[in-house]
Symmetry: C2
Subunit: 318 residues, 2 copies
Amino acid sequence: MKLPEFTDIEKAHELIKPFIHRTPVLTSISINEMTGGDLYFKCENLQKVGAFKFRGACNAVFSLTDEQAAHGVCTHSSGNHAAALALAARMRGIPAYIVMPETAPEIKKKAVEGYGAEITFCQPTLEARETTLARVAEKTGAIEIHPYNNIQVICGQGTAAKELIEDAGRFDILLCPIGGGGLLSGTAITGRAMNPKGLVIAAEPEGADDACRSFHANKLIPSINPKTIADGLLTSVGEINFRIIRRKTDEIVTVSERGIVRAMRLVWERMKIIIEPSSAVPLAAILENKVDVRGKKVGIILSGGNVDLEKLPFHELL
Amino acid sequence: MKLPEFTDIEKAHELIKPFIHRTPVLTSISINEMTGGDLYFKCENLQKVGAFKFRGACNAVFSLTDEQAAHGVCTHSSGNHAAALALAARMRGIPAYIVMPETAPEIKKKAVEGYGAEITFCQPTLEARETTLARVAEKTGAIEIHPYNNIQVICGQGTAAKELIEDAGRFDILLCPIGGGGLLSGTAITGRAMNPKGLVIAAEPEGADDACRSFHANKLIPSINPKTIADGLLTSVGEINFRIIRRKTDEIVTVSERGIVRAMRLVWERMKIIIEPSSAVPLAAILENKVDVRGKKVGIILSGGNVDLEKLPFHELL
């Protein structure tokens, strides 16, 4: 399989521009003073559906031919990709079928329903999700859009870093979180092309460190029983994603749960934006001195802002 | 006294541009669907110090001659103006003296101290604040910068609406909250000049409705024992502000406390940004059908985002 290149990300950007928000890039004097760096935050928490996932879903949906799109799209997801795919499908006017574990948060179910997708519930195991999805795909003829192990999705995700560099110039370091690797693989392709002298670094929770271990072992090591408050980063790195990441990423570091909550709270308080725990992982890496940003210009992708306001973690871990 | 004109706001904008953030304008599909309007939110919660107040403070501080500025600036405030004046003074390299009631929240005291201002505490009464400020001004020679009843402050605040119209085009309605009237008077001057066919409407909490009553009586009626969760709007309208507002504003409406909390929560959940209760007052007016936005293009100024994360009001009033 041919891996995607930066020209594919440029094409993706042209395709999805009418549908996505060009999210703002924010800075904070106080966080700069605290870290000694010159930090630029790309606010994908302010993207449609509240996460960068909408870029990839949008590119995947609008890259389909009319014939391919005729029977709709499907995926299994309990998170942001489900909502992103549902909205992208609605925008194209095709059906979306989402397989979700029964245990998914009420708020996520409502969001997906609100975008007009048809939900099929299943047991909360990976096996049940995959079996149910196969059945749904067979019955409907819908095309599966994987949340990250998909070239169109990767190209869509790479447009966030492209906008960041277009709007704020080149960086010494580009930083993003890593879960399945959709965002990192897209960011790494963009980074190497538009920002060739800068480093591409990813941050991962200690409790879900399969990407870090895989990167340093130079082979894919799946995640076993990952556990972290950063619920967007529980997944194992995808195979296509890893092939890109091992070539184009400079380092993957890990952070503590406390560090994630502290960084999340700092962004809420100082920047007045709502980010989910996964988004706070890169700043946690800076605050825990895993990435040295002193005197450096750093671009950070804040991945999403979907957090349950009823269950804020600020008291649990600090 | 000559009232400020739009050319004064243009001059203010040139003066303060190097120091302020040009804050983003955000939109929300779901809030548009819910209200039937086409709403554009000017995010002054993302302004430096987390509030539009920095614009006015900055214009006031940088409008001083070197001679006037030599002994610094002073004010009494327990809120966003204190932090705004402290930061603006630090940027100009002059001292700031802030009189604060002993009862001010710890987080506000720390913010003001963090910007290097000298705090003098006093009893939490208006009389004590004014007496103490007079003493501080006499002792230091610092120039008082009133939080809203000040022409330079008004001109600074008017730059938010100017950027909003520059970035998103003309509006059918411009909406902002009203407390002392600094933001509304500046917005109204800008609105009449740049957006002459549109309405300028302000929203105010029912529990602090002196501006609404003053506007409809066509004379200034001070606030007595105002009570609202929107702590930035407890003040009575200023005299200069009212002279502008009565000429250039089309309507002032009031909203309930429940409505404020609901609108605040809606913005947090759907737009992923943190706004303080005062900022939610205009959206509350739309949700409570006090302002009809169906089919209309509406610009809304979100005034600030300084809220105590330990004391979120979402459970109290819903």
